[in-house]
C-alpha cells in the first residue's frame, strides 16, 4: 500500500527544495534525500515511503528549472505525482527522471494519509475503501519515455527524441 500526501496549489520548486539546499551548496550531494519539502512540510522526508503518492493542486512544480527538486522526490521513491496541471519545466524534468505524472484533480477525492494501491501499468488507483480511480494516460509520445525509465535510457535505447519518427 502507498500513502497519499496531499499538497495545495501552485507548489513551487522553492517549496519542494529551497535553493539553499541545492546539491551545489551541499558537502554531500546524497543528503538531498533529506530535503524534499524541508521547510514547507517537514514531516514529509522522514515519513515518506517508496511508492507513496503525491496528490497536489493546480500548477505543481512552478518556478525554477532545478532538476534536483524532482530528483529529491525520486531519491525518496515517490511512486507518482497526480495534479490537474504541471508546470512545464517540472513536467519535463520529472519525465526525464522517469517519475510518473498523471494529470487529474484528486485533491478532494483522496485524503492526506489515506492508504491506496497504485497500479502503474493500468493507471489505476485503488483506495482502502475499494474505490477504483482511473487515471488519464499520459500523451502517447511520452509513454515510451516513462516505460524506458527516463529520457537518458530512452535516448540510449532508441537514439531519438520523443515524438520523432522512428
Amino acid at each position: 500500500m502507498a500513502r497519499v500526501w496531499i499538497f495545495g496549489q501552485d507548489i513551487n520548486t522553492d517549496q519542494i527544495v529551497p535553493g539553499r539546499y541545492a546539491p551545489y551548496m551541499l558537502k554531500n550531494e546524497a543528503d538531498l534525500r533529506n530535503y524534499p519539502f524541508v521547510e514547507h512540510r517537514p514531516d514529509f522526508a522522514p515519513g515518506v515511503q517508496p511508492g507513496d503518492l503525491i496528490v497536489a493542486g493546480n500548477n505543481f512544480g512552478c518556478g525554477s528549472s532545478r532538476e534536483y527538486a524532482p530528483l529529491a522526490l525520486r531519491l525518496v521513491g515517490v511512486g507518482a505525482i497526480v495534479a490537474p496541471l504541471f508546470a512545464r519545466i517540472f513536467f519535463r524534468n520529472a519525465l526525464n527522471l522517469g517519475i510518473p505524472c498523471f494529470t487529474a484533480d484528486l485533491t478532494s477525492t483522496l485524503r492526506d494519509g489515506q492508504e491506496v494501491e497504485l497500479r502503474l501499468e493500468e493507471g489505476v488507483i485503488v483506495t482502502d475503501e475499494g474505490q477504483h480511480i482511473q487515471l488519464p494516460p499520459p500523451p502517447a509520445f511520452l509513454r515510451d519515455v516513462w516505460a524506458a525509465g527516463g529520457i537518458v535510457p530512452f535516448y540510449r535505447q532508441y537514439g531519438r527524441f520523443p515524438g520523432e519518427a522512428r
Binding site: 539553499r20 551545489y24 500548477n59 532538476e67 515524438g163
Partner: protein, 430 residues
Amino acid sequence: MQTLSEQILSRAAGRTVMAGEVVTVDVDLVMMHDSLSPSIIRVLHEELGAERVWDPERVAVVIDHVAPAASVQTAEKQADVRRWVKSQGIRHLFDVGRGISHPVLVEEGLARPGMVIVGSDSHSTAYGCVAAFGTGMGTTDIALAAATGRTWFRVPETVLVRAEGRFRPGVSAKDLALYAARRLRADGATYAAVEWHGVEFLSIMERMTLATLSIEVGAKAGLVPPVFAEPGAILPSARAEVRRSALQPDFLQVQAGARYSQVLTVDLDRLEPQISAPHTVDNVADLSELGRVAIDVVYLGTCTNGHYEDMAAAARILRGRRLAPGMRMLVVPASAQALQRATADGTLMTLLEAGATIGTPGCGACIGRHMGVLAPDEVCLFTGNRNFRGRMGSPQANIYLASPEVAAATALTGYLTHPQEVEASLPSQV
C-alpha cells in the same frame, strides 16, 4: 500565418510547424550556469556517455549564481567547471563578476533574434528580449542538448499581451509585467509562449524585464518582436557587430492573422505601480490598494530589474536624498557592462551617496544563497521576479516585488511608496 514561436521553431525544425505539433529542433545556443553545471557535466559524461559537447562554440557557461563563491563547496565546484570548460575547448566562459547569464549573452551578441536558446535556468525566457526563442530546462535536458545539439518541443500556443499608450511617470516595464501576471495568473500561459506587442519604445534590457517575467505565468518563451527604433540607441554599450546582429532577421516578423490563444490588452496610460505581495508572483495589487507596508531592506538587482536602466531610474529618484533611517539598500548590477555604464555617468555615485551599497554583478541574493539573505520576519522590497516563501532566505521573511522606481521611493521613506509621492514630499538637496 504564424506566431514568432512558430516561425522560429519552423526554421529550427526545417519544416513549417504550427502550435500543438511535437518537433525535434536544432538548438543555436546552450547556456549553463554554475548552479547546475556540475550535474550537467556528470549526466553528459556518465549517463549519456558523451565525451565532448556537440559544438564548443555554441555552449556558453556563466558563473553567476554564487559569484564570488560563498563556501569551499561552491568554490571547488566552480574550479571543476573551469577545468571542464578548458578541456572541452569552450571559449564562452563568463566568470565571476561578468554578470547574470541572460544580459551577458545578449551583450556579447551570443543571443540573437530568431535563435533557439536553451538554458539551465527557468528565466532563459529572457532571450525573448531580442526575439530569440529562449527557454529553461533542467539538468538532463541541457546535458542532452549539449551532447547532441538538439532537443524536442511541443510547439506552443501563444498568449498575446498588447500594450497600448505610454507609461505614466513612475510606472515602467515591471508594472506591465506584474499586471500581466495579475490578470493571466501563475499558470495562465503554461505550455504556451507569450508575445509582448506595443513595446517597441522599450530598450532591450527593459524588454528583458517582460521576457523574464513570462515564466512567472508559466510560459515556455516570452518574445518581444524584433522591432528596434535604432540599434545604437538600444544597446549603446555593445560593440558595433553586436548592435548589427540585434537587427531583425528577414524571416522573423509579426504576421497579421497569426493565431493567439488569448489576448490581454493593457492600457499603459492608466496603469499604476503594481506590487506583488507575498508569497506568489501573481498576488498583485495596485500600490495604492495596499496601505502602509513597512520595509526593512530594498534589493535592486536580478536579470529582471538589475540593468543599467533600473539603476538609472532609481538614481533619478534618490538623487540628492538619503535613505530612510534604518533602511538598507543593496544594489547588485545585472552585468559588468551595466555597472561600468552606471559608473561612467555618475549613476553609481548617486546611489552610493544616497546610502545604497553595491554587490558583485550576478544573481546575488535572488535565490537566498549569499550576499543579502533575509532573516525571519524581515520584509524585503525586491526588484526581482520571485517572492516565493524562502526564496531569499528565511521562510519567515516576506518579499514584495516591485519596479526599480518604487524600490527607490520606498528606500527613502521606509514603507511602500509611489515614486511621485517622494517627488512631492521629500525635497532633494541638489
